[in-house]
Symmetry: D2
Subunit: 369 residues, 4 copies
C-alpha cells in the first residue's frame, strides 16, 4: 500500500529521519540495511575496545560509500567511553591520555606538521549549556600565538602557535559564523583549523561520552544554500578538522527506536513468514530481534497500516504521536551541566597535549591553571 502513495509518505518520512551527527551511528544503520551482511563498498573500518574505551576509525573513500552512509568522504575517528558517566577522575585521565595519542596520530594522517599554526574554533551558543561544548573547550585551550608574535625568542621549544575563538551563533551576533571565521582566518593566517561543536546522537548513552574527530570540516545542514556556510578546506583554503561530542538526542529518535523495536517484535505475529527475515518457526532470540532492527522497514510497515485511514486522519494520527513530545523535541540529560564541564576539560587537555610536544598529561594542568 505504501508503495502506491510514495509522494505523501516520503514527506511524512522525511520528518522521521533518524537524526545523528555520528558517522559511527550512520555506518551502523547503513550496515544493518544490507540484508546480506556484506560490507559497504568504499568504506573501511577499524575498531578496538580496551579498558572500557572503544576506538574506531572509519575511512569513507568514495562517493558510493558516502551516499550509503550519508556522510561526506573523509576520515572519522570515534572514541566511546560510557564510563565517563560515572565521573571517575582516574578513568577521565585515562580517556584524555588515550584521546591525546589518537588525535596526534589523526593530525599526522591529516598532514599537519608539528609547527603548523592552529586556530581553535569553539562553535555553538554559550548561553545554552547543551550547545556550549565548543566555547567550553576554547576556555581550556592553551593560547600561544601572541607569544610567538610578541616575543618569539621567549617561547620555549616544543610549542606551536595556537589561537582560539568562540564566534557565537547567528542569533547572538547577527553575522554568519562562517563569515566571522573567514574574516579572522584572513587576518590571523593559521595553517589549519580545529572546530569544536556539539553534535546530536541517536542514543542517550552516547551523549557526553563519545568523541568524534573528522577531517571533513563542518557542514551545517545539507541544503544547497548552506554551502557557503560550511567550514571546510574548500571554503577556508586550509585543513579543517572537526571535533564533536554528542550532547543532545532528538526525542523523536527515542520514540522511534521504541516503535521500531516493538513493531519488530509484534510484526512477526502480524505478518508472519513473508515480511519477517527471521525463521518464523523458531522462537527468535534476542540477538535475532536486535539484528532485525531495521528502522525504515518498520516505519514503512507501520505506514502501511496507516494506509487504511483517510488522509486527514492519517495526518492527525502522526501529529498525535508527536504532540505529547512537545515542540521542544531536542533533549539533553538532566545532568548536562556537569557532563559538559567534564568532557570539555578532558578534550581540551588532550588537544593541548597533542598540539604541543612539550605538553603532556602530567604537566598540562600547570599550563592552563
Amino acid at each position: 500500500m505504501n508503495q502506491n502513495r510514495p509522494q505523501e509518505h516520503q514527506i511524512d518520512l522525511s520528518q522521521y529521519t533518524v537524526r545523528t551527527d555520528l558517522a559511527r551511528e550512520s555506518h551502523e544503520m547503513a550496515a544493518k540495511k544490507r540484508s546480506d551482511g556484506s560490507s559497504i563498498p568504499g568504506v573501511q573500518i577499524w575498531e578496538n575496545t580496551d579498558g572500557g574505551i572503544t576506538t574506531s576509525w572509519i575511512w569513507i573513500k568514495n562517493e558510493q560509500g558516502a551516499r550509503e552512509i550519508g556522510k561526506v568522504p573523509g576520515t572519522y575517528l570515534t572514541i566511546e567511553a560510557p564510563g565517563l558517566r560515572s565521573r571517575d577522575s582516574i578513568f577521565g585521565q585515562k580517556v584524555a591520555g588515550h584521546f591525546a595519542d589518537q588525535f596526534e596520530r589523526f593530525l599526522q594522517e591529516a598532514g599537519i606538521g608539528p609547527n603548523d599554526s592552529c586556530l581553535i574554533v569553539g562553535l555553538g551558543n554559550w548561553n545554552v549549556t547543551a550547545d556550549a561544548f565548543g566555547p567550553l573547550v576554547v576556555k581550556h585551550t592553551m593560547v600561544t600565538r601572541h607569544l610567538f608574535e610578541l616575543e618569539p625568542e621567549a617561547v620555549a621549544e616544543g610549542y606551536r602557535p595556537v589561537s582560539a575563538l568562540s564566534p557565537g551563533v547567528l542569533g547572538l551576533t547577527g553575522i554568519e559564523t562562517s563569515d566571522i571565521i573567514k574574516g579572522v582566518v584572513e587576518k590571523a593566517r593559521p595553517d589549519f583549523v580545529i572546530a569544536f561543536d556539539s553534535l546530536a546522537s541517536r542514543a542517550l548513552t552516547r551523549v557526553n561520552t563519545t568523541i568524534q574527530v573528522a577531517d571533513t570540516g563542518i557542514h551545517p545542514g545539507s541544503g544547497v544554500g548552506n554551502k557557503r556556510k560550511a567550514l571546510t578546506r574548500e571554503t577556508l583554503g586550509i585543513p579543517v578538522i572537526a571535533i564533536g561530542v554528542p550532547t543532545v538526542v532528538d526525542a523523536v529518535t527515542i520514540a522511534f527506536d521504541t516503535i521500531d523495536f516493538v513493531t519488530a517484535h509484534l510484526g512477526r505475529e502480524i505478518h508472519g513468514v513473508k515480511s519477517n527475515p527471521l525463521d518464523p518457526y523458531k522462537r527468535p532470540s534476542v540477538k535475532d530481534l536486535q539484528d532485525y532492527r531495521t528502522p525504515d522497514e518498520t516505519v514503512h510497515r507501520m505506514m502501511g497500516l496507516f494506509g487504511a485511514l483517510g488522509d486527514d486522519e492519517k495526518r492527525q494520527l502522526i501529529h498525535e504521536v508527536l504532540s505529547p513530545l512537545g515542540q521542544n523535541l531536542i533533549v539533553t540529560p538532566k545532568e548536562v551541566d556537569s557532563f559538559m564541564a567534564a568532557i570539555a576539560k578532558i578534550i581540551a587537555n588532550s588537544v593541548n597535549c597533542a598540539l604541543h610536544e612539550s605538553v603532556n598529561m602530567e604537566n598540562v594542568a600547570s599550563h592552563v591553571w
Copy 2:
C-alpha cells in the same frame, strides 16, 4: 497470559510506572482508567481556559480519591501556559499577573493571613540547571524579614516579613534538606513556608510552561523511611505550600507514550474485537484512538506477548528496549537554561505581588532591581 504471572510482571511494570509529579496528569490518567467515564469519588475539579492560559483547581477530599489518583489529599492549583515557549514578554507578564491573582486566592483558601510571616524555601541543586528552579526563585524573592527585625518602624504599610533560603541538596551539604529547614524554622519562626521545587512531567510540552501549587507540602519519594524527610504541616508545625514547575521528563515516558499509541493502533489489528473496546466494524476516528490510550492496559498486552519468551530472554528484551536510551533517562529540553530563567522570574514576581499588598505587577521590578 499476563494474569498468570502477576508477580514477575509487577516487578517489571514497577519500572515502567509513568512518572509525573503533576496532580493534573495523574488525575487525567486515573480518569481514563474509569471505562464508564464516571468521575472519581472524593475528587472535585474546576477548569478554565482563557487567553492561552488553562487554570485548573483539583480538590482531593478523601483517601479514596487520593488512592485512585495517587496524590495525597489537598488542594492543587495548576496553571498551564504553553505560549511561554515563545518567550513573548507581553504574554509572560500576563501569565505572571494571572498567577499572582490565583496564588493570592490560594493563600486565602489555605488560611494564610496578610501579615503572616513567610519563609521561602528554594529546593534543588543550583549546579544542575534543570534542578535549579527553587534556587532561581529565591534569587528573585523580595526578602524583608530583617527589615522588620532591625527597624520595624521603617517598614512601610503593605509588606509582610519574608525570609528565603536555598538549602542545597543532600549530596552538596551532607545534611538532610528537611533537617536544615527544620533547624531554620525553629530559629526564624515563620508562620508558613512556601517551598519551590523542580518537578517531573509526563509530557515535554508541560516542561517549563506549567505551574502547580499544592497545600500538601513536599513529599520526597513515597517510602516509609522517607516520612521524616517530608516538609509538611505535620513535620514543621506550620502550613507548607509547594510550588513546582516540571523541568524534566523521564525518557522512558516518551518511549512508552509512543509504544502505547502504536500498540493501541496495531492492537486492533492483532487482537480484533475482544480486546478492543472500540467498535471493530467501524474505522476508528482519531478521537477514538486518543481516548483508547490506556497506558497500563497496553503495557499489559505487550507484556502478554512477551509471555511467549523465556524469562532470561524476556529480561534481555526489556533491557534491549531501555538500553538505547542510556542510563540517564531523565531528560530536559536543550533550551533548559533560558526556559528556567524565564519561568523562575515570572513566578518570583507573581509571588512577590501575592505576598505583599503594596507590590503589584507595575512596581515589582523596582522592588527587586
Copy 3:
C-alpha cells in the same frame, strides 16, 4: 632643586601620571593647571546638571587643545549619575532615558543615518568582572542584522541592521582584537561601529556611575607601535564611536590624590609665601585649598624634597611608597559584580532605543527578553 635634575625626575614622574580615560577628568586637570583661569584654546565645553544627572559635551577642535588635555581631537559626551550607586531602579530608568536621548543626538552629530547598519563591539575580558563591561552590553544588545539578511521583508519599520561581537582579549584569543574586528568588518560590512569598553577613572565616585561617548574610536595605549591596533575611522574605514564606563581606579591615584591634598595643605607651612599661590597671611578657605590642588606641582615639590636624598635612597623611597599597595595596583569597588550588571543593562537599553526608531524605553524590555 627639582629643576636641576629634570631627566631623572621625569622618569619617576612618568610612573606617577594620573591615569584616567575620561576626557572630563583630563579637561578638569588641564584647566586647573592654567593659573590664570583662562579657558583652553581649541576646546569648547557645555555642561548641565538636572535631576541628579550631569551632562557635559567637550569638543576638542584642534591639536593645541588635544595636547593640553591629552586627548585626541573629537567630541566627548559624558553622563555622570552618582545616584546609580543607590541602585534605585526608577532613577536607573531615568538615566537610561536621558542617555538614549543624548546618544541619539550624538549619532546625528556624528553623521550616522537612521538606517545605517551598526556593528556593536564589546571589548574586554568576560572572565574579569571589572573588564567585562563590553561583553555585558553585547549580551543585552538587540541583534537584527540576520533578520535583514534572511527575511528582509519580515522586518518591521523602524529597525536598522545591528550585529554584535565580543572579540575577547589578546590573552584569550592569541589574536590582536583589532585584527579580529577588521576581519569581521570586512565580511559583515557595517556602516559604523560602536565599541564598548571598560575605562579607568581618577576617582572611585565615578566608577560605574559615569558614561563617556566619543567619536574618536579606541586608542589602546599611546605608543607608536600601537597605532595599527587602534579601532578608528582611519583603521576601519568607517566611523567608530566609543562608549566607555570607568570600572577601575589606579590605587596609585588614590595615594597621590591624598598626598596631593595633604602636601598642598602642609606646603603652605613649609614653603610659605613663595611657593604658595594662596595669600599666606590669610587663613586659606577650603575652597582655596581645593582650587590649589595641582597634582603635578605638588608632586614636583615633593620630588624637590626627595632631592636631598641620594639616588639609590630615592629609588628605594619611591618603592617604599608604592610597595604597601602591592603589585595589583588597579582596584575596583568590592560591589563590582552588581554595579557592572546594572550599568551595562541601562546602557544597552539606551543604545537599543537610540539605534531603532521603533524601540523606546517603554517597549525595550519586551525586545530583549
Copy 4:
C-alpha cells in the same frame, strides 16, 4: 595642639582606624607603637619563611595582649605566599601541601580528634565575588556526612563525617546567619565547625595571598549587641575554627598609608628635632624612615595642623580628603575573579587533606572531581 582637643579628634580618628582582620597586621602595628622595641606581654610569636612562604603562629594568651593588639585571645596561624599572584600551579600545589600540614597541626592543638565530625560553613555573599571566598570553598569541599548516615559500612577507613553549608548573608535571607548556623548545628550535631570568610587587609599585597586560621570563631563587628551574632564555642557549644583570606582593602587605608609615609618624611623638615625621633643631624636612611612609620602619630600631627582651622572648615577638609575616594571605599584588585577561584581551590584541597587521613595532595583531585 592635638592634645587640647582630644574629644573632637577622637571622633575624626575613629573614622580613620586602619581596618584589618589579620592578627599579623594588628600585631605588627601594635609592636611598632612600642617605641622601646619591647615585645607585647601575653603574646608569643613564631615565624619562619621558606621557599616563598612565610608561616607565623601568634598566641594571644591574656587580656592585656588582646587589648594591645586588638584581637581576642587565641591562636592565630598565618600563611603568606605572595607568589600566588603569579598563578604558577606548581607553587600553588606547594602552598596547598604546606597549608594542609600546618592546618592538621592546628586541628591537633585545638583538640580536634581524627574522627570528630565537622560542619564547614562558607560565610559571605556568593553574588559579590570579593565576598564569595566562603561559598567558593564549600563548593570544593568533600562532603561525606550523608554517607556515614546512609551506609556507614560502605565508608572506607580514613574519612570523617563532613557536612557543608553556605548560609548566605542577612540581605539575601532575611535571617541572621548565626541563627541559620545554630539551627543547623542543632540538627546535624557536628563536633566542631570550620567557618570560612573573606577578610579585610591593610595591604593590597596580602589580598588573596594570605591565609589566616584562628581558634577564636567569628566575631562580626565588635559592638555589644552583636555578641549573639558571633559564631564561637560560647554561642554554638562546640569549637569554631575560622579560616579567612583577605580579599578587600579599605581605600582609606591606601590613602593613609601614603599620607603617613609622606608626612613622616616631610615632618622632619617641618618640625625639626623635637617631634622627630630620628637623629635630625643625620640624613635618615630608608630603613630609618620605614621604622619611623607610626601611623597614629602622623595622623595626630596632621590633625594638629588641622587645629588652626575652624570646626566647619575642618570637617569640610576631612571630607575633602575622602570624597575623591567615593562612597565605595572598600576595594579589591581588578583580577579578583581569578584570584578568588585559585585561592579557594587551594584552601579547599588543603582542608580536604587535613580532615581526612585517606586524602592527600596526590589523590585529592580525584575525590572532588
